[in-house]
Symmetry: none
Subunit: 423 residues, 2 copies
């Protein structure tokens, strides 16, 4: 089986929106051994869409389409599919889809806008695919010899509909995949440590990918290597090789792995965030159930917030400045005390673009960690712009807290963003 | 002039890498009035590449290609271009390109690997485009009536080569684009308000897109409608029609628009976040320069944090529970006082997946806003799962604060997520 992917929308063609659907779909298809022969992106234009549908249907037995199913005048996928199926194919009203639409609005206590009615239309011979997360039903039809499935553009609607309607049509494969995530070192360093495990003719096949500052080893085994125990063994070996940087498998996040370490010992966490202003907290509270181990924290952006809410001494601020080892230490110790938490992390730095100096250039960040009988501060120098500096700093605070909980010695393990004094 | 964009690479087709080049190129082309008729992505396969080149060259007078110019066996763009120009076209060695390659390695004190020699080959009749940031020269040739420019895949090589070799070939602007963003209502509601403005035969052309909870109107004008004044007028009309939901244009975020409203009056902000735990703060501090108007805030996850750091009375917590109008009000007033801010917003709710009850189901969120002579609380019921509830709640707090600053009456404007008591 092969597939082709068509993404639709003027906002894509104008470069206003990044199409992430094609990548997501292709990765999902590749995971079950279905290669893609082509992605195509076309504007909200009827003829261009119909032509693309016909041409892709001639190239692959499975064509996945995203976008253009909304209720407005520029949503033309229904009409384009009708044309591609044959000029004389009529659009008909689907009673089930119409009922779903009415229910959607009824459940929300809102009247259905007139224009949404057209979302219950489908080409005769096509079927509607129900959408639990939005008003746009999908469509499934044959164009020539190909199965064509049209899904809505928003990823949070598209992805569950893929799993429900497309995944069951895909071949089953005697294959298993696994992932180990790490934080603190670069991809080259970590790949070198894996050595021969990354040979392209090995089964399981191991590759590395980097997403933001998280470097992951992706493992794919077929045949005997797809066995659950064999996969677990391979992932354990990689976790050992990558220790102490490896922090979890699968969909485990840094915050989740920290939460697990805290919960296992019945401990709690507090945060004091200056330059990240809540980013680490938002990662922590994105985890369901984090109220069991997260007490709260302070976005101590202004110096008064550092002083009045976290107990940093004015003398320390005056002597060392807000971005300093001393303030990071007092922030961590102070917020730990104020919130009655077992562990606390603090972040203070220069996220830029302005505010840097010779001694403390943009990207300079101090991260403090305080716990029972433990307090430590590390200084980093992150590359890149504001968003990536903040992201690495927030994740760094979570990673270092997790390392310190495991073993005080691990708190000092070298990171790739280590501050290096000149001269 | 119109353009088509071809991206090449197995890593794209397997969903391992997100193609960002097409979006970047399209945005750059749109900025000088060159619309794209199609993007296409094909694997490292000779026939697929040559076919795509021929088909796109038949559709647009300018075809931009990225990828496949490296030194390895799977880099086939040179050969595919040769085939698309005509089967009998030979590949020839370009002496200048060869000299550049040798210099690249000489400058780095490394011997040139044998395989790099092929990067100095070009189809007869094509010209090489020099690359200051990598070894792969680009290629420029005619295929049929189209100008085809092949650039390397890595963005930091591709982008300067676009500016140097492609930009001078582009026409002077006769198209302009603009965007208006809104928060608080659904796409259908807002599109209906635009009415005839969204007709597909209108110039400027107006379309709507939804990304998360932000609904945007995207405007494209050509000819007289591309005039800066005409575009500004169109965007102003849409802002008027969408008032008070419209909050900004272009790359303005909700946090940025709130910051602008505060800065214009020399005012400051504080936040108290329970279920969002720093998410609104992270949106605020993602804005460069937010230290001018953001004092800080409290991630008041545990009740003790609400009480001890934000001044919520224990009696209020006992009587109404943490998720209540009364607590949202005391949080907003309390954090405003503690941080000495002019305005403050608070968020307390049930983000799920657990913790809901009959009276306060998952998705129930109270948002409070306090300012000089103003305090208000609204109750919402957000659909969806934890991440989307938190996202809407955090943005809601920013949006409502901005509305309250503009006019206390606007604080009460209906949102699509309005809580509706039963019965």
């Amino acid at each position: 089986m092969k597939a082709a992917i068509l993404s639709i929308g003027d906002e894509l063609m104008l470069g206003q929106t990044q199409d992430t659907n094609a990548k997501w779909l292709a990765e999902r298809l590749a995971s079950v051994g279905v290669p893609c022969v082509q992605f195509r992106v076309v504007p909200d234009a009827l003829e261009a869409q119909a032509t693309a549908l016909r041409e892709l249907a001639a190239q692959a037995p499975l064509v996945l389409v995203t976008g253009g199913l909304g209720p407005t005048d520029d949503d033309l996928t229904r009409e384009a599919l009708r044309l591609a199926m044959g000029e004389t194919t009529p659009l008909v009203r689907d009673p089930d889809a119409a009922e779903s639409l009415h229910r959607w609005f009824r459940d929300r206590g809102r009247p259905m806008p007139e224009i949404n009615a057209r979302q219950a239309l489908r080409p005769a011979g096509a079927r509607c695919l129900s959408n639990d997360f939005g008003t746009a039903p999908g469509l499934h039809a044959r164009v020539g010899a190909a199965e064509v499935l049209c899904l809505p553009g928003p990823p949070r609607e598209m992805q569950p509909m893929f799993e429900r309607f497309v995944a069951p049509m895909l071949p089953r494969l005697d294959m298993a995949t696994g992932v180990v995530h790490s934080f603190g070192q670069g991809e080259s360093f970590l790949a070198e440590r894996l050595g021969d495990r990354m040979r392209r003719d090995r089964n399981p096949l191991v590759g590395t990918t980097a997403s933001g500052a998280v470097v992951s080893a992706r493992v794919r085994g077929t045949g005997a290597a797809a066995d659950a125990e064999a996969m677990d063994r391979e992932l354990s070996v990689i976790e050992g090789i990558w220790a102490p940087y490896a922090f979890g498998r699968g969909d485990t996040t840094l915050a989740g792995s920290l939460g697990r370490a805290l919960k296992a010992k019945g401990l709690t966490l507090a945060l004091a965030e200056s330059c990240t202003g809540g980013l680490a907290g938002s990662m922590v509270t994105a985890e369901a159930g984090s109220s069991a181990w997260f007490r709260g924290g302070v976005m101590c952006y202004a110096n008064e917030a550092k002083r009045d809410l976290c107990g940093v001494r004015q003398a320390t601020l005056d002597a060392h400045g807000a971005v300093s080892e001393a303030v990071a230490r007092e922030l961590a110790e102070g917020v730990r005390g104020r919130l009655g938490a077992d562990w606390a992390a603090s972040i203070t730095g220069v996220a830029g673009p302005s505010g840097g100096s010779e001694a403390k250039p943009v990207g300079t960040v101090f991260i403090g960690v305080a716990g029972p009988g433990f307090v430590g501060v590390r200084r980093f120098h992150y590359p890149g712009e504001r968003a990536s500096i903040r992201d690495r700093a927030a994740r760094g605070a979570l990673a270092l807290t997790r390392l310190a909980i495991g073993s005080p010695a691990d708190f000092a393990v070298p990171f790739i963003w280590e501050w290096k004094p000149r001269g």
